[in-house]
């Protein structure tokens, strides 16, 4: 090769390499340059809550496959609490202690886990009132009530004649009802039939649960529906008060490979249910008695002890027997969310495979019903004509619209799962106003009060399903995330990104000022009605009834009394009833016994909790305080002596602590 050609060749190569290097340097290098620049401005100041200061909002995020609820402050994104609901929670002993284990009772026995999907605040006049939070269990259908004075689960009702309690626990504007609808249609009543007989044998149910009296949740009535998948729901409000709307998909009634087979029809349905008509039909004797067992678990507010009651039979309504009970609104395509705007007029569907966001008009729906604008009828349910009910369609909103919330200023915000963004659009004109990327694959979104009559249109929280490169890797099992977006201006603005626990599907939030005044600091010991409460230092002791041994014990900084127990034998079942007799805010104790086949206990002030223990072998077992309660927490311990069965060791519990410790 001549020298000049070698030179040219070399120069060409150098140029190429240089170009490549420049190109590489200019390429977007992950997210570090692109997104941090976008975050410039006052975002940090907007979410900064100074040490000792309080957040503006309490938000309640469902835990998804954790079965629980998490409480985060907004705008800081600080995690305050995980409230155990449907899953055992060894951190506090929920579902393990004798006081709480009944909360997880179902007709299947104790179910120690569930998949909690949607949080719903109790409402008064269609506005969150801060009394209770409801949440559903999807796997073994249940609805729980969380008391927001205590931030604890107070009540759980199982839903009979159902499978997959997904469209739940959305509330009517006065919390008269919360609902649950079957995600999985099944034979109702259950039966051993071929799955291929789906179209003949499988049904769905819509369940209305009375919810306005604490401790008294019960199935008011059920509606037997065609065998589709019922996905989400929302109550009407204002003019549409008295109606409930549920999305359905798989109107194809596929029973295998739903991914393809349930995605064939151009439109599925929103079921519009007139629940006042349901009440009327029941009063008129048009309902039928129907079987089905379910369990109701309640914490007695006096004793703090949960108990279970099994109930049988429900009131069942068939749409064919109750004219005007249910109408189907054709809706493209496999809709997820059905969200009613604050005025109560617009019914927004998140058609997850649709190319538009369809919005129905309640006024037009009533007119279409009056004019009998019916396409056809399915099992006695008239299908209204799409053109007769549609108010408008948001064109080119993005891909995979799932769920819509409102800011109370005439705007709607829809999450786009596939295009991973939140889209802001205008009610009435249906024009897209703004869009913001989220990271990644947003499911539901939440504006405090954003599904109510009076949204607090300041922040929007996007609940994302995938984090990928958003955080440093923590192994194959990563977290989900939430992103806080400022919606107070014309343009949405990303403020904050924080990881979440489990997989939050939906959230609710209210101003902290609504909850702070009523939040309980501690229980009064004098009002502790637990049958095994110990009120004072020297009131504890040990008693035997056959093979059952009850130990009553107090915990106070920094000792247990009694703290020596003897006379227990192998073969006994021992119940440690420990009462924290502290009467001061946040002074908690804990209790654990060496080798116990259960969780430890946390003991908030004034409360009694019970650990059941079956010692396996003669030995001396220490027990101790598991919550660093005081300077002498490490001294807070005791011993249990376990003797062989038939021993002559006398039953003994030393309650002479007063003399020993000068108290």
């Amino acid at each position: 090769m001549p020298r000049s050609r070698i030179m040219r060749f070399t120069i060409a190569w150098v140029a190429l390499v240089a170009l490549a290097a420049v190109g590489y340097a200019c390429a977007p290098s992950g997210k570090s340059s692109s997104t941090t620049n976008l975050l410039a401005g006052d975002a940090a100041a907007r979410v900064y809550v100074a040490p000792g200061s309080y957040d503006e909002y309490y938000s309640f995020l469902s835990g998804g496959f954790s079965g629980q609820v998490t409480v985060y402050g907004l705008p800081s994104g600080r995690l305050f609490k995980e409230i155990p609901v449907f899953s055992q929670f060894p951190q506090t002993g929920y579902g393990y202690s004798e006081e709480t284990k009944a909360m997880l009772t179902t007709t299947f026995g104790q179910v120690p886990w569930d998949d909690s999907h949607h949080t719903e605040l109790s409402l008064t006049n269609g506005v969150p009132d801060g009394r209770w939070l409801f949440i559903n269990a999807n796997n073994t259908p249940r609805i729980a009530r969380i008391d927001l004075k205590r931030f604890e689960t107070a009540e759980i009702l199982q839903i009979p004649n159902a499978a997959g309690g997904h469209a739940s626990p959305f509330a009517t504007p006065d919390t008269r009802y919360v609902v649950s609808a079957t995600r999985f249609s099944v034979p109702i009543p259950q039966a051993d039939v071929p799955v291929a007989s789906y179209k003949q044998n499988f049904k769905g149910t819509l369940t209305f649960v009375t919810a306005d009296v604490p401790g008294k949740m019960d199935v008011a009535f059920q509606i037997m529906m065609p065998g589709y998948d019922y996905d989400l729901g929302h109550a009407g409000k204002g003019p549409s008060d008295g109606w409930f709307f549920f999305t359905t998909y798989n109107s194809e009634q596929a029973n295998t490979k739903l991914e393809v087979n349930a995605s064939q029809a151009d439109k599925d349905y929103i079921a519009a249910v007139n629940y006042r008509k349901a009440e009327q039909c029941i009063a008129d004797g048009k309902a039928k008695k129907f079987g089905g067992s379910y369990v109701h678990n309640v914490v007695d507010p006096k004793t703090g002890v949960a108990s279970s009651e099994t109930k049988t039979g429900v009131t069942m309504l068939y749409p064919a027997d109750c004219d005007g009970l249910v109408y189907y609104l054709p809706t493209p395509k496999s809709p997820h969310g059905v969200d009613i705007d604050p005025s109560g007029e617009f019914i927004v569907a998140g058609g997850k495979l649709a190319t538009v966001i369809p919005v129905h008009s309640f006024t037009k729906m009533l007119k279409a019903i009056a004019d009998k604008q019916f396409e056809r009828s399915i099992d006695g349910i008239p299908v209204l004509k799409y053109e007769a009910v549609i108010a408008g369609e948001v064109q080119k909103p993005g891909l995979g619209p799932l769920h819509t919330e409102f800011d109370g200023k005439g705007n709607a915000y829809t999450s786009m799962f596939i295009s991973s963004e939140v889209v802001k659009w205008k009610l009435g004109t249906w024009e897209v106003l703004d869009r913001i990327p989220v990271y990644y694959s947003v499911g539901h979104i939440m504006i405090p009060g954003g599904d109510s009559r009076k949204p607090y249109g300041k922040y929007l929280l996007a609940l994302d399903k995938i984090t990928k490169d958003r955080y440093l890797p923590t192994g194959p099992e990563g977290s989900r995330s939430a992103q806080l977006i400022d919606i107070s201006g014309d343009k949405m603005k990303m403020l904050l990104d924080f990881p979440t626990l489990g997989e939050p599907h939906y959230a609710q939030a209210v101003p902290a000022s609504m909850l702070q005044p009523t939040s309980l600091k501690f229980d009064k010991l004098s009002e502790n009605g637990n049958p095994f409460v110990t009120m004072g230092e020297s009131d504890g002791g040990i008693t035997r009834h056959g093979k059952r041994v009850d130990v009553k014990m107090i915990a106070i900084r920094s000792h247990f009394a009694p703290d020596i127990l003897e006379g227990i034998e192998v073969g006994d079942t021992v119940y440690f009833h420990v009462t924290n007799i502290e009467q001061d805010w946040n002074i908690a104790h804990g209790f654990a016994v060496f080798g116990a086949n259960t969780s430890g206990l946390t003991l908030p002030p004034g409360e009694t909790r019970t650990l059941k223990w079956i010692p396996q072998a003669p030995a001396v077992y220490p027990f101790y305080c598991t919550d660093f309660c005081s300077a002498l927490h490490q001294e807070m311990q005791g011993y249990v002596r376990v003797s062989p069965a038939g021993s002559k060791v006398a039953l003994m519990a030393n309650t002479s602590h007063t003399a020993q410790a000068g108290r």
Partner: protein
């Protein structure tokens, strides 16, 4: 005219000091309901503070649980339990205050200077004795510790709270100060002294300054 004896005339009081004396006496009724003194304890873990409210007939917590919580903390240093039942003064003091009220009213109704002087002196003596007694109890609680069972023992350290003012006791800042009943007592005492001063000044003139004539 039979009552207008010269000796008696020199002992009578005018309307204004009698009124002042009556008000001072009656205001002491408040002591049966309102605390005399407040001791407030603040530590890092007690941002809202723990408080004691000391009255003529009670020692209470500032909130229903404060006294138990103070006692709970005091067991670390071996301090005896603060138990209102163990303080006999709380049963005696209401009678003394009742006596003071009766005495003051008697002075006002009778309009006798000597009764007023005696009452004022008694009031002052009671106040001084009460303060001294309070200090003695504080000394007793702060010094007579159960060292055999005390968890925290610091040689030379005592935990006597201040009679009035601020003092650091380990992690707690103790603030001792009159409460509303205390202020009422101080004002009542000041009124009593004012009545005495008015009476003493008018006694030289032999006539009441505002009315120009004796009542009695």
């Amino acid at each position: 005219m039979t009552t207008q004896l010269p000796a008696a005339r020199g002992d009578t009081m005018c309307r204004v000091p009698r009124l002042i004396t009556a008000i001072a006496s009656l205001s002491l009724i408040g002591l049966f309901f309102l605390p005399l003194w407040r001791v407030q304890l603040v530590a890092p873990q007690y941002p809202e503070g723990l408080g004691m409210r000391i009255g003529i007939n009670s020692v209470r917590g500032a909130t229903p649980n404060d006294l138990d919580n103070i006692n709970g903390l005091n067991h670390y240093i071996g301090m005896q339990r603060i138990s209102p039942d163990a303080i006999p003064e709380l049963r005696i003091m209401p009678w003394i205050v009742a006596l003071l009220i009766a005495g003051g009213l008697a002075a006002a109704v009778a309009g006798r200077r000597r009764v007023l002087y005696a009452w004022c002196l008694g009031f002052f003596a009671f106040g001084a004795a009460g303060m001294a007694d309070f200090w003695r109890w504080e000394y007793d609680y702060g010094h007579h510790l159960d060292f055999e069972h005390a968890i925290i023992k610091i040689p030379g350290m005592n935990y006597q709270p201040p009679l009035i003012g601020v003092k650091q006791l380990l992690n707690f800042t103790a603030v001792s100060w009159p409460d509303i009943g205390g202020w009422i007592a101080f004002v009542a005492l000041a009124l009593a002294l004012a009545a005495v001063v008015i009476v003493m000044r008018s006694s030289g003139r032999g006539s009441c300054p505002l009315h120009g004539a004796h009542h009695a």
